[in-house]
Each structure stands twice: as structure tokens, then as C-alpha cells.
């Protein structure tokens, strides 16, 4: 039982990170019907930016640790959000009217470009967050251990997800996003600046991805320029599991994926955990072809 709860906590922690990244996939898909293959790389760049900031003099003791962490996360988010907007403008906007496959290949091109740019800037080897970047506090709660980073990840990701949900559901801009997701042309007729909305999506999505990147870097401490693909793939899987295009779906899908993965690692074996995860995905889609919370889309005949 202790193993179960421990793996559940581990799963929630990783799952929260997946959820944050999955949101970026699902929002872009919802508004543009496009799989942004480069999204995993935004996440990866977030963790590298965080690494640079953490390693810099910032944490030398001039300001308290908690303030420094906030500064690191916010700055990384801002940097990657800027990058997201640039990528959208340069590589995706010219393709908005062309076929979806073209956009997918363009996104793959962006992804290869970003990965190699990171490799050239930060080097091809693993980089490690310095050990002093987070306090090594561990609590014991009813027989299981929970460390500071797990609490931080859960707190930050749930905070961001609730904020995003409220933003999309309760504000006028959020309504505009939802309208754009349904139909670009009608949204335009209603006076919504669709370009502006897409730009906003490419601000929010990469920013969330960057936050996840910093959190994961702090958690595992080791980062590499290829993690964008590994985690991007998992997050994309999570978005599909939840029903792509659906914001709560991405959150649920991410948590579910994290938990499944950690239970698989705990009870089956860590070498087979990904096989387990993908089998579940395939079974799920066989019975619910549009994911857990995805709408059943019957084509209009």
C-alpha cells in the first residue's frame, strides 16, 4: 500500500508536468487544428533558460531562495513565450491556409532547428542544475516521503492550471479564444482579431511549457537537449488521451498518464513502463476514438 501511495504521489508530480505541457499542445490544436511538434522543445528550452538563470549569480544569496525561484520561473516563461510568438509568426502563420500535413512538417523543421540551436548554445552533454537550487527538505506523511520539489511542482502546476481554466472560461478574452476555436471566420465576423488570439495562444502555451521545463529541471536536476522529444511525446499522448483540443482533457490526461507510468514502473518494471502506457493509450482510443473528454465528432453529411 505504501508503494501504491508513493507511486501515486510520484505519478501526480510527473503528471502535473505532463499536464502543463499537454495544455500547450491542446490549445494550439484547439485553435489551429495543428499539432505543434516543436512544443516539446519550448519545454526543453524553458528548462535550459532556467538552468542558466539558476546557475547565474541570482541565487548567490542576494535575494531569498523563494524569491529567486519565482524570478527564475517567470523569466524563463517570458523568454520562451517570446520565442513562441516568433516561431508562430515565422514558421506557422504563412501556412495557415495550407494543408495540415504541411504545417506538421514545418513544425518538425522548427523542432529540429531549436534542438540543434540549443545543442550549439549549451553543448551536447547533459547539464545539471546546481544542488543548491532547491532546499532539500523531505516530509514524512503517514509512512511515505514527500519532498519539497514535489510539493512545489504540484502547487505551481495546479495554480497555473486553475488560473488558465478561469481565464478561458470566465473572461471576455477567454470567450474569444473559445469562439476562435470553433470557427475562425465566424469569430472574425464577431469582431475578434483571430491573429491576435493565435498570438496569445502562442504566448500562453510555450509559457506553461517553460514553467514545466524549469520545474522538471529542478526536480530531476539533469537536462539534455533531447528531453523535448521524450517529454513532448508523453505530453502529446496525454493531450490525446484527454481528447485533444479540450483544456480540462489535457489536465486529466496528463495526470492520468503520469500515474499510469509510475504505477507501471512500480508494479511491472521501469523498462516496460512506456510500453504499458502506450498500450493503455491504444486500448483507450479503440473504445473511445476521441479520447476521454473529447467530443464525438460526427462528420456532417
Amino acid at each position: 500500500m505504501a508503494l501504491f501511495i508513493e507511486q501515486l504521489v510520484n505519478g501526480l508530480t510527473v503528471g502535473a508536468v505532463y499536464s502543463l505541457v499537454a495544455l500547450g499542445y491542446t490549445m494550439v490544436y484547439g485553435v489551429m487544428r495543428m499539432i505543434n511538434f516543436a512544443h516539446g522543445d519550448f519545454f526543453m528550452i524553458g528548462s535550459y533558460l532556467g538552468f542558466t538563470l539558476v546557475s547565474s549569480a541570482l541565487l548567490g544569496g542576494a535575494i531569498p531562495l523563494w524569491a529567486a525561484l519565482i524570478v527564475v520561473v517567470v523569466l524563463s516563461m517570458a523568454g520562451v513565450a517570446l520565442l513562441g510568438v516568433i516561431v508562430e509568426r515565422a514558421a506557422y502563420r504563412p501556412l495557415r491556409r495550407s494543408s495540415r500535413l504541411t504545417a506538421v512538417v514545418s513544425a518538425i523543421g522548427v523542432s529540429i532547428f531549436l534542438q540543434n540551436a540549443v545543442m550549439l548554445i549549451w553543448g551536447p552533454r547533459y547539464r545539471a542544475y546546481p544542488p543548491w537550487s532547491v532546499p532539500s527538505i523531505t516530509w514524512q506523511v503517514g509512512g511515505i516521503y514527500i519532498n519539497f520539489m514535489q510539493v512545489l511542482i504540484l502547487a505551481v502546476s495546479f495554480g497555473l492550471m486553475v488560473a488558465l481554466y478561469l481565464f478561458v472560461q470566465r473572461t471576455t478574452v477567454g470567450a474569444a479564444i473559445r469562439a476562435t476555436a470553433i470557427d475562425h471566420d465566424t469569430a472574425r465576423l464577431m469582431g475578434i482579431d483571430v491573429d491576435q488570439i493565435i498570438r496569445l495562444i502562442f504566448l500562453i502555451g510555450p509559457a506553461l511549457g517553460a514553467a514545466a521545463g524549469v520545474l522538471l529541471g529542478l526536480y530531476y536536476r539533469q537536462i539534455h537537449f533531447t528531453v523535448g522529444w521524450t517529454y513532448g511525446l508523453k505530453a502529446f499522448t496525454a493531450a490525446i488521451m484527454g481528447g485533444i483540443g479540450n483544456i480540462p482533457g489535457a489536465m486529466v490526461g496528463g495526470l492520468l498518464l503520469g500515474i499510469l507510468e509510475m504505477l507501471g514502473a512500480g508494479y511491472i518494471s521501469s523498462a516496460w513502463k512506456d510500453v504499458f502506457v502506450f498500450l493503455i493509450l491504444i486500448l483507450l482510443l479503440m473504445f473511445r476514438p476521441t479520447g476521454l473528454l473529447g467530443e464525438r465528432i460526427a462528420e456532417k453529411v
Partner: protein
């Protein structure tokens, strides 16, 4: 009987000659290209011959994926799984049981084809992006399985060393030049077969499914069957290519069959022009030969490569050599 229709703008293009590239290729281009192809290994160094061998292997893989992605429009981004099944079937049967490679060629194709059929059957109804992630998942499942060395068959991360070679009248195919001719002979055969299929009832029904599935059904096409045939055939050709690959590489390990490989194959099809055979050949050249040409820029080459993909999609989204066979077919039809 039929009502009269005004022909205000008769848009018929029947009178216009074939586009220049096409006519040159049919008259002079093809013999010249074949001639260059035959002479090439006698003038080029081994390094470039090897590049051409791998180019050929990617052409075969690209052609096999083109059936699935280009002709039917199914988003398969896990194609290297079938390539892996073929290569491992070859390596295991050759090393354990000493089966000849000529026999393993169809056998690996069969193994991958059967696997393709069984794996695709329950998921073939999924819509675009859902199919995409499922095929990626299949690719990962197969790669991880190979990595985990089930029953000690696959050799884990180190893979399998396969020493046997193709033999023609006792002459082992070992030198890069031999491989060059072998691989491109396979390419020629595959292209011939695929052109025949493209111009047949089956090839046409694949395109109908790609264009509009519901309309295709209304015309009496069993779209599920059409998709499954394409998936099976594509997987089988990839599997047979696995045999050639195993013979060339000697060491077969899971790292040759990653998700990244599948992504590259996918890009080859789109880059070349969906459903276009010459497009696949050019697209593979773009993916395989271009990075070699950029070797002088060593570390920057993949950076350029990513950039080139984006620029291609922006400025030439229809691909390097878009499919244009439909008009040609018709002209042939009239000639008969």
C-alpha cells in the same frame, strides 16, 4: 438526352503539350539517369557510394510509407516499426537458423506485412491525429520491446550481429559497389510495381479514400479494406527493406528504428509531394544526401536542415515533385 450546357469557358487542357520536365524525362531523361546511375559507382569514392546506398534504402522506405501517407492519407508516424520487424526477423532467422537472405527477403516482408495488418486492424478507423499518436505509440512499443531483449532474442541495446550476406552465384555482396547495384535494382523493381498499382483500380480507390472518405463509401468502396490493404502492403515493403538494411549494416540495434526515423520518413513523403514516386526519390535525396553535402558545416548542418524544412513548406508546400500522373494516365488511355 442530356441537357445542353453552355461552354462559356472551355477549360479543357487536352490540347496542351506535357510540361517540359515530364516530356524530357520520358524521352531522354530516363535513359540518361539510368546511364549515370550505372556509371556512378565506377567514378565515385566508396564514401559517396555508401551515401547512395543509404539513399536507396530510404527511397524504398519512403515509397513504402508513401502508399500509406501519400496515397491513402493515413497519418502513420511509426513506420520504422515495420522496418524494424523486417530487419530483426532477418537477423534472428539468419543467425539462429542460417536461413538464406534471398529467402528472408520475402519472409521479412511477410512478417512485417502480417504485423502491419494485425496492428492496424483495430485502429484503422481512427481519425487523422489520433492515428498519428497511435502509430507513434506502436513504434515506441516495438522499439522498447527490442531494447528489453525478450527471451534473449533481440540482444537488447547492443542488438544482433548478422554476418551472412546476399550471394549471387556464390559471389557475396559485400563491397559498397555491390550493395549499390543491389539496392537500386530493388528500387527499380519496387517503382515498377508501384506504378502498376497506382494506375490500377486499387491505386485509384486509395486516392478516393484520401480525397473524401464518405464520398468514397457512397461510391461503393470499402474504405476500411482499402486502408488495410495499403497499410499491409506498406509495412511489407518496409519489412523487406529491413533485410537489405540488415545485410548492409551488419549490426542491427534498436537505435536505428527510433521515432525520429519515422519522422524523417514522414517528412520524405511530404517533402517529395504526397503520392508522387519521383517526389519520394527527390525527398529522400533531400533528407539523406543534402545533410552529407553540408558536412563541411558539420555542427550547423542539422540547424540548416530544420530551417530548410520550414522554408520548403512555406514556399513549396506541394512538395518537390508533386504527383501529376492523372493527366498522363488519361493520355495513355486514349492511345490504346
Amino acid at each position: 438526352m442530356a441537357g445542353r450546357v453552355e461552354r462559356a469557358n472551355s477549360a479543357s487542357r487536352l490540347g496542351t503539350p506535357l510540361p517540359l520536365v515530364g516530356s524530357y524525362l520520358s524521352k531522354w531523361g530516363l535513359p540518361v539517369i539510368i546511364g549515370i546511375g550505372i556509371i556512378f559507382p565506377h567514378v565515385a569514392g566508396n564514401y559517396w557510394i555508401d551515401v547512395a546506398v543509404f539513399w536507396g534504402i530510404y527511397v524504398l522506405l519512403g515509397l513504402s510509407l508513401n502508399i500509406i501517407v501519400g496515397e491513402v492519407g493515413l497519418f502513420n508516424m511509426g513506420h520504422s516499426a515495420f522496418f524494424a520487424i523486417g530487419a530483426y526477423t532477418t537477423a534472428i532467422l539468419s543467425e539462429r537458423f542460417g536461413v538464406s537472405l534471398w529467402l528472408l527477403l520475402p519472409l521479412s516482408g511477410l512478417a512485417a506485412g502480417v504485423a502491419g495488418y494485425i496492428l492496424a486492424k483495430p485502429i484503422i478507423h481512427l481519425r487523422g491525429d489520433y492515428l498519428l499518436i497511435v502509430t507513434i505509440g506502436l513504434n515506441e512499443i516495438i522499439r522498447i520491446t527490442l531494447l528489453n531483449n525478450p527471451l534473449g532474442l533481440t540482444g537488447g541495446p547492443n542488438g544482433i550481429i548478422m554476418l551472412d550476406q546476399f550471394r549471387i552465384f556464390g559471389h557475396a555482396i559485400e563491397r559498397p559497389m555491390d550493395f549499390y547495384y543491389l539496392v537500386w535494382a530493388f528500387v527499380a523493381i519496387t517503382v515498377f510495381v508501384l506504378i502498376r498499382i497506382q494506375r490500377s483500380r486499387i491505386g485509384r480507390c486509395w486516392n478516393y479514400v484520401r480525397e473524401d472518405e464518405i464520398a468514397a463509401q457512397a461510391m461503393g468502396i470499402d474504405t476500411r479494406w482499402a486502408k488495410l490493404i495499403a497499410f499491409t502492403l506498406g509495412a511489407a515493403i518496409a519489412g523487406a527493406t529491413g533485410t537489405v538494411f540488415a545485410a548492409k549494416l551488419v549490426v542491427i540495434s534498436p537505435e536505428s528504428f527510433t521515432f525520429m526515423e519515422s519522422v524523417i520518413l514522414f517528412c520524405i513523403v511530404i517533402l517529395g509531394g504526397m503520392g508522387s514516386i519521383p517526389g519520394v526519390i527527390l525527398g529522400s535525396a533531400g533528407m539523406m544526401v543534402l545533410p552529407e553535402l553540408l558536412r563541411n558545416f558539420a555542427q550547423f548542418r542539422m540547424l540548416f536542415f530544420g530551417l530548410a524544412l520550414v522554408l520548403m513548406m512555406i514556399f513549396r508546400p506541394q512538395g518537390l515533385w508533386p504527383s501529376r500522373r492523372w493527366t498522363t494516365i488519361l493520355r495513355e488511355g486514349e492511345g490504346e
